[in-house]
Symmetry: C2
Subunit: 453 residues, 2 copies
């Protein structure tokens, strides 16, 4: 289409989702020949890799959030809209947002994933997951409320259940959560209570496979387990959770079922793709995998729809290794940059080779002073790995708005451990009376069945 | 009562409320002859004077919160309990908390005040006040959502209402809120939007009396008004709010009523005492004033109950000047310290003279670089006053846990304006569809009736 002056109107790219994938696409599309509309239901980009530090009272949500408008305010070709995309019409080339049709020339869907309970959605009430700021605040509330309730509990068994923290899932998030809770219980909080000794706290990390951090090299898994145990975490592998109800967790080890009492159960075990994936797959005849991720072409587009791309945690890209790429920030970032480059080159009449993920390695942090880093050609553990982890995170945090101040502030918060971040807040504060109540439904903890950890 | 060894058990002081009054009492009672139990329904002390900075997206809640357990963890004689006191028995000398009786020898009630709508409680829905962290998060959500909705609004009148912010009440909180919103609209956010020009925002500060900051000297009120106007705030005095409903604010100026559209109305106009005040007054035969504050004796105790004290915003102490002392932090702090000293001296058989408030002055800040300070013998305005304001706040923030780090972090956050703190969060996020909806109930803005400001 040509306008009055005989020049083409700018190519309009709509990006749905302001996570790593969407944001890096938008930043890379900064060009006067392209108009970009970025739609997100939140007004900020969240640095999810550090969300566990909000959940455990070290950082504030604002420390790991960047307003999308600020990050993109120098990209004058980019408009940010706060809203939720309810539908997509791939034939007429528009997306529906709050009753309004927004037309696109190219569409990038990057709405990510949320946690999944493998069909046991009723567990969510007892075992919250960690994907949003609200999730983190809720975890923080539960963790610190458990210590508060234990301080007031006179029944020994109930107190033991209150001081038992179970993290389900031994991936990076689970490892990071378990390590941070152990540091709280055995270090940071130890002077704070008068009736309880927080060193009696039990922190359990449950993993179904035979080792934590399954994607890492086995020797790193072993190192991570050792570091966790040094912090006081009980690492329990080859263990499946088969029930979570009230304060009772049921697990299965081989053929044996066991039960134990635990007030605080945190979920770090599985994810499923955002529902927009299924919607676009149905409309375009694309396939989805078991987790709801959309199977994409080698250039990250959808079959038959070369102007629709799916990237990040929502995409199932298996062209490189035969297995889908993992749902981590570097994959999303590289996919976003690839799609941006591809669109720019297409506008010049060029095509670029298929997407190739360059795996720079994996890393997970264990407490304040240890980590494991798997770079493929090199493996790091302990304090050196932790320093490496810190540098990488600081580097990518800074990229958001290219400001030294954010980096310094964050490092400062990290080292000084913003003490106020332990505050218990929320609209639905538990009635303080409940904290001290001794409800009838509270099941007896059968210590004979307690896992020996 | 004597115990087996023939020595007296320690005197037990129960403090209800961990605000400035309760916390300063507890800190001053650090003595091995006294056991202290501090009860609060939150697990943190909140530095309320800076709450407006959370509401306007400069600081995080954690920056102005200190966990009570951390602040008091060196006071080994002090136990902190999270819970709500539901009843007090002044004859049997115990307080009820969650079904449990806690006996006391001395009792200090310092549960403060919340905002009051002068009987118009239905206004709370449209015009939230600012007393808790949750209040601040809600204000922040409303302020930033208004800009987001304006960006998507195509109807000019509705957009004008979305970009109209009304602060009700010209005391320090109102002045601080209005100044901070003006700085957001005319400075910080001005590059962030594509459809709206945030400089078209209108920020109105409504005050019933003939000047803002009525407790200050008139020349400081004039200076404050000038500073606010320089920032772009419309200061409207001698104006009463008579209606707030939906997006319509009704005001009365003299005999004339006017209406105008404003999506965001913030309440900084009045407070009423916490309900525990009325409860204890009824049980002890004490009187309360119109705001529900308990009228106390010259030593801050209740008539006929020399071991029960009421301090801080909950107390009506008029023995010094004939008028009640204002509900500000320095009054609560000095009262707490007085009561602690009084109890300690009584245990030694001594009495001390009646409480005397030493008024060090009043201060209010207007935006990032101006303030007014009234020290009685000296009045400061502008940047010098702002520096003074900063020093005072830093000093008292630091007192909480005597750590340099908190001070540096806070000053750092203040100067760099933690950008992430602009995040819109909350369990009950407004459905993004609503943001863009054009509800039928939306009343037409009658510009003929708009106040000429």
């Amino acid at each position: 289409m040509e306008n009055k002056a005989g020049t083409k109107p700018p190519h309009h790219v709509v990006i749905v989702g302001g996570g790593f994938g969407g944001l890096y696409t938008a930043k890379a599309l900064n060009s006067k020949d392209i108009n970009v509309t970025l739609i997100d239901k939140r007004n900020f980009h969240l640095f999810q890799p550090l969300l566990y530090q909000v959940a455990t009272g070290t950082l504030s949500p604002a420390d790991i959030s960047s307003p999308l408008r600020s990050v993109l305010n120098k990209s004058k070709n980019t408009k940010v809209l706060l809203g939720e995309v309810s539908d997509i019409d791939p034939e007429k080339q528009n997306v529906m947002m709050g009753g309004e049709k927004i037309p696109y020339d190219s569409l990038i869907i990057a709405t990510g994933a949320k946690h999944s309970y493998f069909g046991k959605d009723e567990w969510e009430e007892y075992a919250p997951g960690l994907k949003t700021v609200e999730d983190a605040i809720e975890m923080r509330r539960r963790i610190f409320m458990a210590f508060e309730a234990a301080e007031q509990e006179t029944d020994e068994e109930k107190r033991r259940a209150l001081l038992t923290f179970v993290v389900v899932g031994g991936g990076p998030t689970g490892v990071e959560l378990a390590g941070a809770i152990a540091e709280l219980a055995y270090g940071i909080l130890k002077e704070d209570f008068r009736n309880i000794d927080t060193s009696e706290t039990q922190v359990m990390l449950l993993e179904g496979m035979d080792r934590v951090l399954p994607p890492f090299a086995p020797e790193l898994s072993a190192k991570a387990q050792k570091s966790l145990e040094d912090l006081g975490v009980s690492v329990v592998t080859k263990t499946l959770v088969t029930g979570i109800e009230g304060d009772i967790v049921t697990i299965k080890q081989g053929d044996e079922s066991k039960q134990f009492g635990a007030r605080t159960v945190l979920w770090a075990a599985g994810v499923k793709a955002s529902p927009l994936g299924k919607a676009i797959a149905e409309k375009t005849g694309s396939e989805t995998d078991r987790a709801g991720r959309v199977i994409v072409e080698p250039d990250l587009s959808l079959k038959g729809y070369p102007n629709i791309y799916v990237i990040g945690d929502l995409a199932h890209f298996a062209h490189q290794t035969g297995r889908p790429l993992p749902g981590v920030a570097p994959v999303a970032m590289q996919e976003g940059q690839y799609v941006a480059k591809s669109i720019k080159q297409q506008l010049k009449g060029n095509t670029i080779p298929p997407f190739q993920y360059f795996d720079k390695g994996s890393l997970a942090v264990i407490g304040q002073h240890a980590a494991v880093v798997d770079l493929g050609f090199m493996k790091l553990t302990g304090f050196v790995a932790w320093l490496f982890w810190l540098l990488i995170h600081v580097y990518y945090l800074v990229e958001f708005d290219n400001k030294l101040v954010v980096m310094i502030q964050w490092v400062w918060n990290y080292f000084t451990r913003n003490r106020g971040a332990r505050l218990i807040t929320g609209k639905d504060l538990p009635a303080p009376v409940e904290v001290n109540s001794k409800p009838d439904y509270y099941p007896a903890v059968n210590n004979n069945k307690t896992v020996n950890v």
